[in-house]
């Protein structure tokens, strides 16, 4: 489904991604872990073509989307991304936020798009908020709308960028429950997170990034419980010290 090869990204002289190779298979849930600044978010933004890359290749469903001849607007139609800060459109109602992409980008008839959006809002438990504006919703609710918005055009791949990091602790659960359901229903997920317990339960594969490089990857039981690389061990011991695993 997704193949990332030798991905390099620099901001000025700072090397954020240093030759990352990553594969995500269909229906797979891949979790990126690593400290802040390790390149998790940048990797997701590069995959979504929101950042220009400095070297390497990103292939989605056999199409090289990093090729400048590929139309990025078309390439993005196969992916959805949910951000840390929700980024809902504050001037549109919850329903219009979800309807927007199917209607405008995918030319789904208005009636059909609304029906599907209401279905999705029901799925994330926010049907009754359809007519509200995002600023009337709690952070957890906003994030659930953002997930519904990203799912509205049935993307092949869903990217989740630390979607619980901006939430109050008691709101994290409702969002993670939703992601767990998505994973169970076979959605292909690539997510960056600091929720190690969640990664352990839901991930098919965990990838540890450090200094822009993919240090170690494997099933959660291996990476989170018996990491081989000293830097992974160091990272996890700090996480355990902080009581997060």
């Amino acid at each position: 489904m997704l193949e990332v090869r030798n991905l390099v990204k620099r901001y000025g002289t700072h090397q954020v991604l240093d030759g990352v190779d990553l594969d995500v298979a269909e229906h797979e849930v891949v979790v990126l872990i690593g400290s802040s600044g390790s390149g998790k978010s940048t990797l997701l933004k590069c995959v979504n073509l929101l950042e220009d890359i400095d070297d390497g290749r990103i292939v989605l469903d056999g199409v090289d989307i990093s090729d400048p001849r590929t139309n990025p607007d078309h390439a993005r139609r196969g992916m959805g991304i949910v951000f840390q800060a929700f980024n809902l459109f504050p001037h549109l109602t919850v329903l219009d936020n979800v309807v927007l992409a199917p209607k405008v980008v995918h030319k789904v008839p208005e009636e059909q798009a609304r029906e599907r959006a209401l279905e999705l809002l029901a799925k994330v438990g926010l049907e009754e908020k359809a007519k509200s504006y995002p600023d009337r919703l709690s952070g957890g609710q906003q994030q659930r709308v953002a997930i519904a918005r990203a799912l509205a055009y049935d993307p092949k791949l869903l990217l989740l960028d630390e979607i619980t990091s901006a939430l109050d602790p008691e709101l994290v659960g409702e969002v993670l429950t939703l992601v767990r359901e998505l994973a169970a229903s076979g959605t292909t997920l690539l997510m960056a997170t600091h929720e190690m317990g969640f990664a352990k339960q839901v991930a098919d594969r965990v990838c540890f990034l450090d200094g822009g490089a993919l240090i170690e990857s494997g099933p959660p039981s291996q990476i989170l419980e018996a990491p081989e690389h000293p830097r992974t061990q160091q990272f996890l011991s700090r996480i355990i010290q902080a009581g997060r695993l």
């Binding site: 800060a85 980024n87 001037h91 927007l100 405008v104 995918h106």
Partner: protein, 282 residues
């Protein structure tokens, strides 16, 4: 809800008495200040002359119908130019925010336009358009001072309004653009559906402020000979050797500006409320 305690009732009573006190102080100081100003002016050595030539009730009554006719012209110019300015200003702002080398000529042109007409004094622009354009004697160029004056007003104010719009567009957080693009929207769709509606809402208060300024600058078309409220006052005062019509015309412009000013206040209060209500990412 339980009944407030004795302590809280006392607190409320004290707050009420303080509030009453400050109202009385405010009233008193206003009255004293107004009386002092009034006495100073009316006791000035030149006051009888000034009163006679600026505040003559008869002259005011006599000039009023002509001034109102003139003001009606100002209002029409205001409405037509106002709409044109909004459209052109928005267009120029959109051109100025285009990215990419393909658009360089348009971007440069828009920037040059804004630089030129924001820098050019309105009165000079009025003269150049009003007397220069017809002076070319080209076919199809209007001779009507109202039309020529309106063109000059639109040229100058569109430049200001374009900058207000541009500030609004650039104030939209990049995460909103990223979010829109990630959904597959093109740049144009992102601007139209996500950026512009938010930007316009955000700049409504400064836009209304410019509108208030524009209302009175409408009176400047009189320098080209258009018989608006200012020109009418000039004609009336020339026939009666009295300046009262200017004062009346001035008051009419003030009255015209009051609703827009209140509207601007309301808009900025609402904008402030919106801003405070937004959580992270909102």
């Amino acid at each position: 809800m339980s009944a407030p305690s004795q302590l809280h009732l006392e607190r409320l009573a004290y707050k009420r008495s303080r509030a009453r006190r400050s109202t009385v102080v405010a009233l008193l100081s206003t009255v004293v200040f107004a009386a002092a100003a009034w006495l100073t002016i009316t006791n000035a050595p030149g006051w009888p002359r000034v009163q006679e030539s600026f505040f003559d009730w008869e002259a005011a009554k006599k000039s009023f119908p002509a001034l109102l006719d003139g003001l009606w012209l100002n209002v029409r110019v205001l409405v037509v130019c106002g709409i044109l300015i909004l459209v052109i200003g928005l267009g120029i702002a959109a051109l100025r925010t285009l990215r990419g080398p393909v658009w360089f000529p348009l971007r440069a042109l828009a920037t040059a336009y804004v630089d030129l007409f924001r820098g050019l004094p309105l009165i000079i622009c009025l003269y150049l358009i009003g007397f220069g354009l017809p002076g070319l004697r080209l076919g199809g160029i209007p001779n009507d001072p109202v039309v020529l004056g309106s063109i000059a007003l639109v040229l100058v104010y569109s430049a200001y309004v374009a900058e207000v719009f541009r500030a609004g567009i650039e104030s939209i957080h990049p995460s909103q653009l990223a979010s829109a693009r990630s959904l597959g929207l093109t740049h144009a769709q992102t601007m139209r559906i996500v950026v512009m509606p938010q930007a316009v809402r955000r700049v409504l208060p400064p836009l209304l402020n410019d509108f208030v300024a524009f209302q009175k600058d409408c009176g400047l078309i009189s320098v080209l000979g258009a018989v608006d409220a200012v020109r009418a006052a000039q004609i009336e005062s020339a026939t009666s050797y009295n300046f009262t019509p200017y004062v009346v015309a001035g008051l009419l412009f003030v009255l015209l500006a009051v609703p827009s000013s209140r509207l601007a206040d309301w808009a900025s209060r609402r904008a402030a409320r919106r801003q405070n209500a937004g959580g992270p990412g909102a």
